[in-house]
Structure formats: structure tokens, C-alpha cells
């Protein structure tokens, strides 16, 4: 108590001196602040008399006017993204300043958990991306825009469908069974980010956000940054800060852009004539093979009889699927692959107004965006509104509000594994017509009716006679109050909600009864996800004896999530005009459910800085969660970090090339609680049979269940050379995850297949390197580069010998990276027989396969041993951004790369299967074995038989790629010209994303994840997955 009183005393003394200063005689200083890069006036620049609270912000024209007390004063000009300048007044009354763009942005404020820090003082590793950098990029969701910009953040958009889930991995995958996605926090409030899809293909709730509202994205990577989020920090934390109003004149910004998208890549399939020859050959091969090598199971009298029968069978199949096409003489090519795509136009308009004075500031914005996907019937519409208000009721009391209302409408598509998904049309027989034949015409003449006698359901018929929409309304609301007891101590309370209402509905017309089995089907599901959080914390900061700088927080947080769900399906409608469930004759499905989880947390952090160059950080969080059994309800997550700004040491004062050098290290513990809501309980589920309600065991108990724990060590070096013309960061980290929450395989004879247990270990270690350079800064010309590269090595540790599988052939294997491909090793084709061969390989003592080619090959995969054949995790990821500006022009070119990962084509067993089915085959299959002595990798096709079309390394290929991710070229109209029209700024730009892709990947697109597969192991799988869109956009930004 005594100490408190002392502090108050000191504060009063300070206030006294300040008021004394303010009473002295003043002079007025005015001037204009411009950008050194393009000479444009800068609005909102803070101009403060050093050592005082006297200050003002520049107006729209970049002008300021300030009362400065008498004496040797210095003005401090600071603005986000620019180097802060200190200018002595020296009796002048006019001071004009040009601010330089800040590359290293050491002075920038970085958002951290429950507060912010100056980048220079950071002891942890945080990757920041400014909203400005990504505002113009035409993407469906903001995650795609930071791809290649943040070191160690691996983003995979899955495929080219709009609104779908995007995978984000920060410093590797730290879990096998629990979610590996980061925690997303918007303006201090954790938000719902997991898919709420009722279907196998995940959706992305974050796509609702208006990217142009984002001020900054800060990705917390190391333990000192994430431990403050405790049991939710292991996968990293993404902090999103939205724009706020600034004191100064009214600023209006209007942005408009229009875009066009097309598939980034394509894949070659057989043409009709190739297909026909290939399949007739396959029919003959089958007959010969059956007759001579399979014991003539159908009992043919001679080899020729077998051939005749198989060929005539194949011809009859062709006759049927030809549907009026004379395939023998005129095998028309219906380009089925192209039918999957549409001309995809999009537009986006966004307007915001920001204004305020020293007391009240606000930012309001509205946006509308409509994007068409490259796949037919795929569309995403987004409407956003936002108001952020800050009000200083007094010097001590501040209140504020962030409110954002959002609506999205997504015309969705079936998952990659459904016949109706457009990309599966590539499997259709190439001469099988899209439309029915006109029987009266000579030769094939298309009618308007879709041909439904296709080998697979005609996806065009289904898509055109059905709808599948997801509508989402989402409100983010966040109010805060902050009370400063004195300049050193304040308390802040926040209450935030994220209310998400979603409707997913589909309808199939009566005409599709051949597909749905009923005369019309309608389905509707409603989900409400209510996620609310309260945070309250005290913040204390002070400087003691000049050299001791302390900031500390302590607080408490509670988070409750509740989800309600209802669904209903009706079948059999009078006709296709009726689409509402009310008109269904049969209600065939009705269900409802609810679930919830909660967290209660206590957290604290202290940062201490000595002599402005020795840094120490401590943080801790105590987390309780409803998700865990009574025995382990609370966990403790501490971290410690330290930094040393070597360049500020005396002995470095002569090292003129080194302008900045900081060594930092952190160590701490985080958790992962991203598992189901009641994984520890033994449960019975309610079911039914023959109209009677019933119970059956659904989960076996584990009362000891707790969170996964990750300890992470990070050592980093931040440097600046040649006056910060070259700056960079180098980090090494090692993350050890223990007590993995594993769905452990248990003997099926127990009645269960898995039990969630804390077993197993997982390690991620890696290196990240960031380099920012100012290459040329000559007059009006500026060229800067920003490069980042990260290597992460993942290794599955002791998992008790568990075999944990995912995807098609992914596995967790001890001593290997997570999700390695584990299957038969393809050994090519026997030149004598045309048989597909597999390496027999060997089995190690642990029961796992070991590569050993000395064991020879076999044509029967069941005689071979499965081995690790590939790794879906990249060796390196990164990006290189080059920015050029000259007078009003600027150009930004971002390349992004992923190196060293493999991709498994799960569709290979169908699309490159040697005529196992009548699916059209990839063109590369034409290089098949035909005659004894042929050297090829493609086995002899045998109709309806598998010759090497089991899962094997045959369908694995390198997934490395280098991509011209974005290119933006813009022209800023000169201020002189605009001022006549009362326009503050005008910027015209053209931009594009995914413009060029360099890869050896054999499939469509190396950025791929089959959307119906989930789980952390199901990495690097392709299954008729749509390529990424290549998008071109032109736009204008107007400032008024």
C-alpha cells in the first residue's frame, strides 16, 4: 500500500511539472508532412513536442499547426509505416518534413496478446503483415493473401472452390489428432474459425471478413508470444487488428475492383479416338490374359473366342454410351473437362469513412463483393459493415466499440468425391455426348436435353437442376472500457461476441430422381454458433531510475462457445417448381443437436527493459477447460524470454556497418485443446431402429485426458546493416509436443476402434530467415525487396507403436514426418509380360516395411511390403516480394514457393488405371506396354482388371512449385491534379494472382488438398480437386 502511495506521489509530481510547462509562453509552429517516396501529403501523422503530451495530427493536406512552448524543443513526427523523425524547432515557425518509408519498421507497434509492443523491444517471434499490403489482392479469404509473406506460415487453399476451408500451419503440424489450425483473435476476441459445414467439404468462416478492414495481421509463432494464450497457443495465434479512426479531418476512401478468373492449370486426357483404340486393345488384352494366365474363368473355347467376346462386349458398351454418336466413324470429342469451368467474373466495392478529434474517433465501412468461381455454379457474395468507435470520456476513462455485421452467400459444390462435383466430369467417356441426340437428325445432333446415359452421372444435368447454398450471417461485437488510475496503471475490460448463424440448403429437382432416388429432394440445416469472451486486465508500466523500464499485465478471461444445430430433409415434391420442404410428401430426416465448451483463464506477463537494451519477458497462463476430465481440468503455461540489443552497446559504436543487432531467445510451454467437446467421457448415443428409440455405446471413457503440451525454444537474431538498408531476422526453433491427443487404434474386438489418449510425441524444428533490403533509393526511384524462407522438419516420436492412418495412404510413422505416404513401391513394368511390378521390400523388427530392393519385385502387390514412399511436408517454403516505385508508379511482384513435398493422386487408380473401369484415362497412359520388350512405366491395360492400379508410388509425384503469386502495378495520380477536383488521392491498379506456376507436378495444381478428406495426416492428397484460380483484376482507390 505504501508503495502504491509512493507511485501516486510520483505521478502527481509529474503532472505538476507538465502543467507548469504548459503554462509557459508558447509559439506556433506549422508545416506540411509529405511522403519522401512520392511527395504526397500524409494525413494523420502524429506531431508531438518531445517529452510532453502536446501534439496534433496532420489534416488531409498533411498540414499541421501546433503551439510549442518556449525553449529548446524538438518535434517528433511519427506515422505507421514510416521512419519516425525528430526535428529541433530552433526558433522556426514553419517546419516541413518528408518522412521515409520504414522497411524494418523497428518503431512499429506490434500487436501481442492483451496489448502491444514496439517491434524493437520484442523478445519473441512475430510475423506481421500490414493490411495495406494485401488490400488489393483479389482473394476469397485473407489467408491466401498472406501466403508467401510470413516466414514459417504454410498456407494451402486446398483447391479452387470458393468459401472452402484453408489449411494454415504455423511452424509445422504440432498435433496428429487434435486440430492443427491456429487460434484466430480479432481485436482481442477469439473467434470461430473451424468449419461449420454439415458436409464433408469444409467451409471457411473466416472468409466472411472484409480484407480491406484489416489494419494488420500479426502471427505469433514462438512460445513467449503464444504462451499468453495457454492451452490454445500450440498451433500459433493469428491476431487480426481492424482499422480505427484517427484524429484529424474526415477521410473517405472508396475502392472498386473488377476481376476475371480462370483455372491456373489443366490436365490432358485422352481424345475419343485415342480412348477407343486404347479400350479395344485393353479388351483384347483382358481376354488373352484371362484365357492364358487366369485359368480361363469364363470357360472360353479358344483364345480367339475370348477376344471376340471381350471386344464385342466393349463395343456394346461404346454403343450404349455413344448415345447416337457414331463412334466407329466419327468419334466426336466432347471436351468434358472444359464443361467444369465457367468464365468467372467478380467485383468488389468498398467504402470507408474515418474521422475524429482528440476526444472521439470513428471508422465506418461498408463493402460488397461478388466473386464467381472457376467451377460452374460456384459463387461467393459478401456484404460487410463495420463501425469502430473510440471515445475518451476523460483523460482517464476511455470506451469503445467494434461492431461488424457480415453476410455471405456461397453457392457451393459437392465435395471432390461426389459424382456431381464438376471436376469429376473428366472421367466421362470422351465421345459420350453432353446433350441427348436428336433422333430425327442424321448423325449426332445435340438437343437441349442433357444426356443422362453417361458412364457417371452427368454433373451438368445435376448442377443445372439443383442448388446448394450456404448463407451466413455473422456479427462481431466488442465493447471495451479502459480506466487509467494514473499514467502508469490502467484497467481494461472487454466483452466480445461472435454470433454466427448459418443456413445450408440444397435442393434437387424432380428430374434428378435417377440420381437422388426420389422425386425431388430438399435439405436445410441451421447452425448457430455463439462465441463470447470477456477479458479484464490491469496494465502497469513505469520507468524507474531512468534505466529500468517495466510493463506488466495481469488478467482473467472467460470464453464460452455454444453451438446449436437443426437439420431437416424432405423428399418427393409435386414438381420442380416446389423447392420448399413444406411441399415435400415425405420428411425423411430431421435432427437437432447442441454442444458447448468453455475456458476460464488467468494470465500475466511482465516485460522488463534495462538501459534500453537488455530485455526480459515473463508470461504465464492458467487455463481451465470443460473439454477435459475432472482429473486434469487446469493447466499452467509459462514462458520466459530475453533479448539483448547488442548494437546499442558501447563496444558496437564503432561498427558502423551494423546499425542494429539484437539477440533474443525464448522458452515456454503451450497447449492444444482443439479436440472434441467431451472426449474424456464414456458415452452412449441415442439412435433408433425400426421406429424405436435406442442407445448404443459411442465412446469409451478416459477420465485422465488432458491437453497436448508443446514446449518451444526459439533463438533469434535481428539485424540491420548499412543504416538499416538491409535488415533481417534469423530464427531457430524446436517445438516438442508431448501427450499427444491420439485417437489410438484399439482392437475392434473391444467394440471400439479408437480411444482418445495422451500418448506420443511430435517434434518440429526449423529455421526461418527474413531479409528486407532497400536495393536502390535514388531520387524518386525506390526498389525494395523482402525475402523469407523457412525450413521445418517434423518428426513423429514415440506413439506406442500405433498405426495411425489418414487420407489414402498417409500415416504417422515413428521417426518419420507426420503423414508420410506409406504404400507399395512401384517398380515399373515387366518388359516381358507388361505386368505392373512392385518391390517386395522387407519388414523391420517393429513390423514396419523397410526399403530393400534386393528382395526383388512381384506382380502381386499383396506379396509386397508397404514402405514409406514419400513425404507430403515441404522442405522449404517462402516468398520473395519486390516493390518498385517511381514518382506515382509502383509495382509489386510476389513469388511464393514450396519445395520438396510429394503429392498423392488418389484419383490415379481411376484416371490412370489401365482401363480398370471405363473412365477416360490421362493422356500419359497412351505410353502403355504393348509388345514384349517394350520399356515403359505404364503397364499393359487390361479391361476391368487391375494391372498395377492399387495404391502405390506409381501415383505419387513431386509437388514442389514456384508461383508468381501476385503482381500489382499501380499509378497514383499527382496530388496537384487531384486537388483541383477536391480529391485527396487516386490510385489506379491492375493486379493478378496465381499468374504463373512452375512445377513438375503431374496433376492440375500442386496447391491441393482433396476437400472430403480431413485430419492432420491427410496431407498432400489430390482427388479430382479443382485447380487454383488465376485472377486478373483492375481497380481504383479514391481518397476524398
Amino acid at each position: 500500500m505504501l508503495r502504491k502511495a509512493t507511485i501516486f506521489g510520483m505521478v502527481c509530481l509529474l503532472l505538476f511539472f507538465m502543467s507548469f510547462q504548459a503554462n509557459a509562453q508558447d509559439r506556433t509552429v506549422s508545416g506540411t508532412v509529405t511522403s519522401a517516396a512520392n511527395g504526397e501529403p500524409l494525413a494523420g501523422v502524429s506531431v508531438v513536442v518531445q517529452g510532453t503530451t502536446i501534439g496534433i495530427a496532420t489534416n488531409q493536406e498533411g498540414e499541421y499547426s501546433l503551439s510549442v512552448p518556449e525553449g529548446n524543443n524538438t518535434l517528433v513526427f511519427s506515422f505507421v509505416g514510416f521512419v519516425t523523425q525528430e526535428v529541433p524547432v530552433n526558433d522556426r515557425t514553419e517546419i516541413n518534413v518528408e518522412l521515409q518509408t520504414d522497411i524494418q519498421q523497428l518503431s512499429d507497434v506490434v500487436v501481442v496478446g492483451y496489448g502491444s509492443q514496439i517491434k524493437r523491444d520484442l523478445t519473441g517471434n512475430i510475423a506481421s503483415v500490414s493490411g495495406e499490403d494485401i488490400a488489393e489482392i483479389p482473394v476469397n479469404s485473407f489467408e491466401s493473401a498472406i501466403q508467401g509473406r510470413a516466414a514459417g506460415v504454410f498456407i494451402n487453399a486446398g483447391n479452387g472452390k470458393l468459401g472452402q476451408g484453408i489449411s494454415v500451419r504455423i511452424r509445422g503440424t504440432s498435433s496428429i489428432s487434435a486440430s492443427a489450425e491456429p487460434l484466430y483473435v480479432i481485436d482481442g476476441i477469439p473467434v470461430t474459425s473451424a468449419s461449420l459445414s454439415s458436409f464433408d467439404n469444409e467451409t471457411n468462416p473466416l472468409a466472411t471478413l472484409n480484407t480491406s478492414n484489416i489494419e494488420s495481421i500479426d502471427v505469433l509463432k514462438d512460445a513467449s508470444a503464444t504462451a499468453i494464450y495457454g492451452s490454445r497457443g500450440s498451433n500459433g495465434v493469428v491476431l487480426i487488428t481492424t482499422k480505427r479512426g484517427r484524429a484529424g479531418g474526415t477521410q473517405v476512401n472508396v475502392n472498386y475492383q473488377t476481376s476475371f478468373s480462370e483455372p491456373a492449370t489443366n490436365r490432358d486426357f485422352m481424345r475419343s479416338s485415342e480412348y477407343i483404340n486404347y479400350f479395344l486393345e485393353a479388351a483384347e488384352n483382358r481376354a488373352v490374359y484371362d484365357y492364358n494366365r487366369r485359368g480361363n474363368p469364363d470357360g472360353y473355347a479358344s483364345e480367339q473366342a475370348a477376344i471376340n467376346d471381350w471386344v464385342s462386349y466393349t463395343e456394346s458398351v461404346f454403343d450404349f454410351y455413344g448415345q447416337g454418336v457414331d463412334w466407329r466413324n466419327n468419334p466426336i470429342d466432347f471436351d468434358w473437362q472444359n464443361q467444369a469451368y465457367q468464365d468467372a467474373y467478380g467485383q468488389e466495392v468498398d467504402a470507408s469513412v474515418s474521422a475524429g478529434n482528440e476526444q472521439t474517433r470513428f471508422f465506418v465501412s461498408g463493402a460488397y463483393s461478388n466473386q464467381n468461381g472457376i467451377l460452374i455454379d460456384n459463387e461467393y457474395t459478401r456484404i460487410n459493415g463495420r463501425i469502430n468507435v473510440d471515445h475518451d470520456a476523460s483523460e482517464k476513462f476511455k470506451v469503445g466499440l467494434n461492431l461488424s455485421v457480415n453476410r455471405t452467400i456461397n453457392n457451393r459444390l459437392g465435395n471432390d468425391n461426389l459424382f456431381e462435383t464438376p471436376m469429376q466430369m473428366v472421367a466421362q467417356i470422351p465421345f459420350s455426348p453432353i446433350f441427348e441426340d436428336d433422333p430425327d437428325a442424321s448423325g449426332y445432333q445435340a438437343t437441349n436435353e442433357y444426356n443422362i446415359n453417361t458412364y457417371y452421372y452427368n454433373a451438368l444435368d445435376i448442377t443445372n437442376n439443383s442448388t446448394f447454398k450456404t448463407k451466413l450471417n455473422r456479427t462481431f461485437g466488442n465493447v471495451y472500457a479502459e480506466y487509467a488510475f494514473n499514467p502508469n496503471l490502467f484497467v481494461r475490460s472487454e466483452f466480445g461476441t461472435d454470433i454466427l448463424n448459418q443456413n445450408e440448403a440444397y435442393h434437387y429437382d424432380n428430374e434428378l430422381s435417377y440420381y437422388t432416388g426420389s422425386e425431388g429432394t430438399a435439405y436445410s440445416a441451421f447452425t448457430e454458433a455463439l462465441n463470447y469472451t470477456t477479458n479484464s486486465y490491469l496494465n502497469y508500466r513505469n520507468i524507474f531510475a531512468q534505466d529500468h523500464n517495466i510493463e506488466a499485465i495481469a488478467g482473467i478471461s472467460a470464453n464460452v462457445y455454444k453451438q446449436d444445430y437443426t437439420e431437416v430433409q424432405g423428399d418427393n415434391f409435386p414438381n420442380s417448381s416446389f423447392t420448399q420442404i413444406q411441399n415435400a410428401a415425405d420428411i425423411v430426416l430431421g435432427s437437432g443437436s447442441e454442444t458447448e465448451y468453455s475456458f476460464l483463464s488467468y494470465f500475466t506477463r511482465a516485460n522488463y527493459k534495462y538501459k534500453d537494451r537488455y530485455l526480459l519477458g515473463l508470461s504465464a497462463r492458467m487455463d481451465g477447460s470443460s473439454r477435459f476430465g475432472e482429473n486434469n481440468r487446469y493447466g499452467f503455461f509459462p514462458s520466459v524470454s530475453a533479448g539483448w540489443i547488442i548494437s546499442d552497446e558501447e563496444f558496437m559504436s564503432d561498427a558502423s556497418t551494423v546499425s542494429f543487432l539484437k539477440l533474443r531467445a525464448s522458452y515456454g510451454k503451450t497447449g492444444n485443446a482443439n479436440i472434441g467437446n467431451f472426449p474424456g467421457l464414456g458415452l452412449y448415443a441415442g439412435v433408433s431402429y425400426a421406429g424405436a428409440s435406442a442407445l448404443q455405446p459411442s465412446q469409451t471413457p478416459n477420465p485422465d485426458l488432458k491437453w497436448e503440451t508443446t514446449t518451444q525454444l526459439d533463438v533469434g537474431l535481428d539485424f540491420g546493416l548499412f543504416d538499416d538498408r538491409i535488415t533481417g531476422e534469423l530464427d531457430y526453433y524446436i517445438k516438442n509436443t508431448e501427450d499427444l491427443l491420439l485417437g489410438v487404434n484399439v482392437p475392434g474386438t473391444t467394440g471400439f476402434t479408437t480411444q482418445t489418449r495422451n500418448v506420443g510425441k511430435l517434434t518440429n524444428q526449423g529455421v526461418e530467415f527474413v531479409l528486407n533490403t532497400r536495393n536502390i533509393s535514388a531520387g524518386d526511384f525506390l526498389w525494395t525487396s523482402s525475402f523469407n524462407i523457412a525450413a521445418n522438419r517434423n518428426e513423429v516420436g514415440d506413439i506406442n507403436g500405433q498405426v495411425i492412418e489418414g487420407g489414402y495412404i498417409n500415416r504417422a510413422v515413428e521417426g518419420e514426418p507426420i503423414g508420410v505416404f506409406y504404400s507399395y513401391e512401384y517398380a515399373g513394368v515387366d518388359p516381358e509380360t507388361g505386368d505392373a511390378l512392385f518391390y517386395v521390400n522387407d519388414v523391420g523388427e517393429d513390423g514396419f516395411g523397410v526399403v530393400d530392393h534386393s528382395t526383388g519385385t512381384t506382380n502381386d502387390p499383396s506379396q509386397a511390403n508397404q514402405v514409406v514412399i514419400g513425404n507430403p511436408n515441404p522442405d522449404f517454403i517462402g516468398g520473395l516480394n519486390n516493390s518498385f516505385s517511381y514518382k506515382g508508379f509502383d509495382l509489386s511482384v510476389l513469388f511464393q514457393f514450396v519445395v520438396g513435398n510429394d503429392i498423392y493422386n488418389g484419383g490415379g487408380v481411376y484416371m490412370s488405371s489401365g482401363a480398370s473401369y471405363f473412365d477416360n484415362q490421362t493422356a500419359d497412359q497412351l505410353d502403355r506396354w504393348q509388345n514384349s520388350g517394350d520399356e515403359t512405366d505404364v503397364p499393359e491395360p487390361r479391361l476391368g482388371l487391375g494391372n498395377g492400379n492399387v495404391n502405390s508410388s506409381r501415383y505419387l509425384s513431386d509437388g514442389s512449385y514456384l508461383r508468381l503469386k501476385t503482381l500489382t502495378f499501380a499509378y497514383n495520380l499527382p496530388a496537384e491534379l487531384l486537388s483541383k477536383a477536391n480529391i485527396r488521392s487516386a490510385r489506379l491498379f491492375v493486379t493478378g494472382s496465381n499468374l504463373l506456376t512452375f512445377t513438375n507436378y503431374e496433376g492440375w495444381d500442386p496447391e491441393v488438398t482433396a476437400d472430403y478428406l480431413d485430419g492432420n495426416l491427410a496431407l498432400g492428397n489430390d482427388f479430382y480437386s479443382a485447380p487454383q484460380p488465376r485472377t486478373f483484376a483492375i481497380g481504383i482507390n479514391l481518397g476524398l
Binding site: 432416388g517 458415452l683 433408433s688 424405436a692 435406442a694 442407445l695 476402434t753 513390423g847
Partner: protein, 451 residues
């Protein structure tokens, strides 16, 4: 210092919104904890219905336990044209150890058995009046499943020594915790058959003659007749079949086509059937046999070779239909049609065959008379002095695509194409996931590979 007190009050007020950790107490809404599920009579009965629900799963008796053995036994009667790799492997007799359909047959059967074992463990909680029935139904399900598991995952009864051939692990107690002791080795074919017979015999004695769509004493008898026939114990097979036929509880449906595609109700001929409605249950036979026009996948085309096995004028031929791509069996046309498990016609055929083989006459009919009953229903003339082959041929066409082909071929020691009846290729592999999760298991002959 007053001001300071104000601060304290303010801070206290802010923090007071957080109560104690009661917000961490949440309960699941769609499930109940296991101690609640078995604590009263109604709940235990509900768990029994849950066992039926699992029993009716696609991978158990919702269709695949009938379809897959038929595909494995096929030698040209059908053609598999579907793109599902798992049944295709079975059709081609090239089953891989990781075939997920085979794994599901194992896993889902044991899941059902565990549910049944839970019911049996809590039988004392059931009200006295219903105890016998509940216990009997539970034993019927368990016995039937063990019989199916034994003949799918083990060698045939008549193949070598059933007292040393391995079948599947025998589990008769509910799983309360999972540990090393849960790794149970495979029991012999004989042990599993004995368990099935003992469960079903007890069920037969406990169950009532009628019991809605649930198991009855006659369902237990019918299943026993099937087991005895599989073992070549014709006297017992005839006795159990006779008990069902002569009970008077069942009559043949006059029109053969009406035997099939009935939703959520048994016909007079059904001794036990899986109930399917638009609300619950599923019919996997429909999924694969029915044409696309009937909402199925149309993956199984019936070949002329099969149709040639019927005599001309046989009403059973009328049930086949063409859909442009091929001929389909009409037995499984309705998406919501029941999946038949055991029906009266089979009992007549078992009694006829068993009586013929033993040369005795259990029941009022000669084998020829029993055969004639089956024939006359489908508009065929009587055959009062049949040969054994006549009876077997009749059985083949009467029960076609109902899951008997493989088991009959093994029983009759008939080769399947180029494969001998006792070829290891005609026995399922122990699923790879089980081998991996349970060190006590050994793999069947003919299947290798690492895990």
C-alpha cells in the same frame, strides 16, 4: 486514500463478472454417460434396440454380409462393373489385407457384440417379466454374428480340423476399459461355432414365438438350422427347420415377387429381416444391385449364365429387369426395402436337403413334397422324386443373391472357377488394422505384407 478504495471497488466489480469455475461444467446433450445407460430397465432395453441398429448396419446385416460372399463365390453369374475398389477385390478374389469393407465387417460386428455384452451384463436391471426376452434377443444377435464371423474369417467347418483352424477372437464380456488384456487371440472355428450354437440354443429356449420385428424363438431355430447345415449335421438341421415350418407362424408369400422390396414390415414368410424405413436403416444390397434409375449404383450386372439356371416359365425370372446397361436382380429395387436375413423358403429347402441326405423324414413332408412347395409358388411343375442335385439347384435359384453362394460352395466342396473350394483366397484376411492394433492376432494363409 478514498480514491484508492474506489479503485479497488472498481477493479473488484470488473472481475466479479467471472464467477468460479462453474462455467467449466458442461454436459453432452446428444449422448448420456455410460453409467446412466445401463442403470434402469428401460435404458437396458433401449441398448438392446441399439444392438439391432448396429446389427442392421450396412457392413453387418444391412446387406454387405450377404453381397460380399456372393461376389467372392461368383464364377460368371454376375459382372462387377462398379468403381468401389473394395467389393471389386472381393469379386476378383484378390482381397488386400487393407480392404476397408472387410475391416468394417469385423469392426462393426464386434461393436454390435459389445453392445449385446453390455445388455447381458445388465440383465438383472431388466424387469422380471421381460428378462428372458431381452436376454434371448441379445443371445440371438451374438450367436448369429459369431457364426457369420467364423465362416467369413475362418476356414470352412469341413476344411481340415475345426478344432485347430482359427476363426475370430471370442468376446463375451462388455468392454469397460481398454488395456493389454483387450488384445485377445483368435479362437478356433470349433470354439466359435460352439459359442454360436450355445447362444442360439439358449435364445431359442428364452424367446417367445412372436415378438414384433425382433428375434423370436423361431428366428433362433432358423439360424441354428443354418449352422447345422453348414456343419453337415443334417439331423439337427432338419429338426430345427421343421420346428420353424411346423410352428404355423409363417407361410410362404403367394407371389414370389412380393417376398422382396417391403419397407419396415415383415411378410408372412420373413423369419427375421432387417427393417429399413426412410427414417432409419439402410439397404446396401439396393445400393449395389439396383439400377441407377432405381436410385442404386447399378454395379452388379446379372449375366445370361445365371439366367440360364432357371427353368423356362419360372416366375423368379420375372423379377430380373434390364436398365439399358445390363440385367439387374429385382430382389433389391427399393431403397427403403427390408434386407432379408432368413425366410421360410430356406427352411423348406434345408429340411428337404437334410431329410434327403439322412434318408429319414422329419416332419410331414418328403423332400420332394417340400421341394414342390417351393416350385409351385413360382409356377413350376412338381418334382416329387428329386435328386440331391435337384434340391441344391432349386436352393441356388430360390436363394440367389441372398448371401448363400459362397457358404454353400464350401459346404458342398465345389470349386470356384479355377480356385479350389478351400482356397485361402476364398477366406477373408484378418483386417490389417486389427493385426496392427492387436499383437495377439495371426494372419490367415495366403495373406502377407507388413503393417
Amino acid at each position: 486514500m478514498n480514491k484508492f478504495k474506489t479503485y479497488i471497488i472498481l477493479v473488484a466489480a470488473v472481475f466479479a463478472v467471472y464467477s468460479c469455475d462453474s462455467i467449466l461444467d458442461t454436459e453432452p446433450q446428444q449422448s448420456i454417460s455410460e453409467d446412466l445407460a445401463l442403470n434402469n430397465s428401460d435404458n437396458v432395453k433401449a441398448v438392446l434396440v441399439g444392438a439391432y441398429n448396429e446389427f442392421s448396419d450396412a457392413d453387418v446385416w444391412g446387406g454387405l454380409m450377404q453381397m460380399q460372399p456372393d461376389l467372392l463365390a461368383d464364377e460368371g453369374d454376375v459382372n462387377w462393373t462398379g468403381t468401389y475398389e473394395q467389393p471389386r477385390q472381393i469379386f476378383l478374389k484378390e482381397i488386400q489385407v487393407d480392404n476397408s469393407f472387410v475391416a468394417d465387417a469385423w469392426v462393426d460386428s464386434y461393436s454390435t457384440i459389445n453392445t449385446v455384452n453390455n445388455v447381458l451384463s445388465a440383465i438383472d436391471v431388466v424387469n422380471a417379466g421381460d428378462q428372458d426376452r431381452v436376454r434371448g434377443e441379445a443371445l440371438f444377435i451374438r450367436g448369429s454374428l459369431y457364426f457369420e464371423l467364423a465362416r467369413q474369417f475362418g476356414k470352412a467347418w469341413n476344411d481340415g480340423d475345426p478344432s485347430s483352424n482359427l476363426a475370430v477372437p471370442l468376446v463375451t464380456t462388455p468392454t469397460t476399459s481398454i488395456n493389454e488384456e483387450s488384445e485377445i487371440p483368435r479362437n478356433t472355428v470349433q470354439e466359435i461355432y460352439n459359442q454360436a450354437i450355445s447362444d442360439l440354443t439358449e435364445a431359442k429356449n428364452l424367446l417367445p414365438p412372436t415378438n414384433s420385428v425382433y428375434a423370436t424363438t423361431y428366428a433362433a431355430s432358423a439360424m441354428l438350422a443354418r449352422i447345422y447345415l453348414q456343419q453337415g449335421d443334417y439331423a439337427n438341421a432338419a429338426a430345427e427347420a421343421n420346428r420353424v415350418i411346423e410352428s404355423g407362424e409363417f407361410t410362404l408369400v403367394p407371389n414370389y415377387a412380393d417376398v422382396f422390396n417391403n419397407s419396415n414390415a415383415n411378410t408372412s414368410e420373413d423369419i427375421f429381416a432387417i427393417q429399413v424405413t426412410s427414417q432409419d436403416g439402410g439397404n446396401s444390397l439396393h445400393t449395389f444391385y439396383a439400377s441407377q434409375g432405381n436410385g442404386g449404383r447399378g454395379d452388379i450386372e446379372i449375366q445370361q449364365q445365371h439366367l440360364d439356371k432357371y427353368e423356362s416359365g419360372d416366375d423368379r425370372l420375372d423379377l430380373f429387369y434390364a436398365d439399358g446397361e445390363g440385367t439387374r436382380s429385382g430382389k433389391w429395387q427399393d431403397q427403403y426395402g427390408n434386407v432379408l436375413v432368413i425366410r421360410l423358403a430356406e427352411m423348406y429347402l434345408i429340411r428337404a436337403e437334410s431329410n434327403f441326405r439322412t434318408g429319414t423324414q422329419v416332419g410331414p413332408n418328403t423332400p420332394g413334397q417340400d421341394l414342390t412347395i417351393i416350385r409351385e409358388r413360382v409356377n413350376l411343375g412338381p418334382n416329387l422324386t428329386p435328386t440331391l442335385q435337384d434340391i441344391l439347384d432349386e436352393r441356388y435359384v430360390e436363394l440367389a443373391f441372398e448371401g448363400h453362394f459362397l457358404h454353400d460352395k464350401k459346404r458342398l466342396e465345389q470349386d470356384v472357377g479355377s480356385l479350389s473350394w478351400n482356397s485361402p483366397d476364398l477366406v477373408y484376411p484378418v483386417p490389417l488394422r486389427e493385426i496392427n492394433a492387436n499383437d495377439a492376432l495371426t494372419q490367415n494363409d495366403g495373406y502377407g505384407g507388413s503393417n
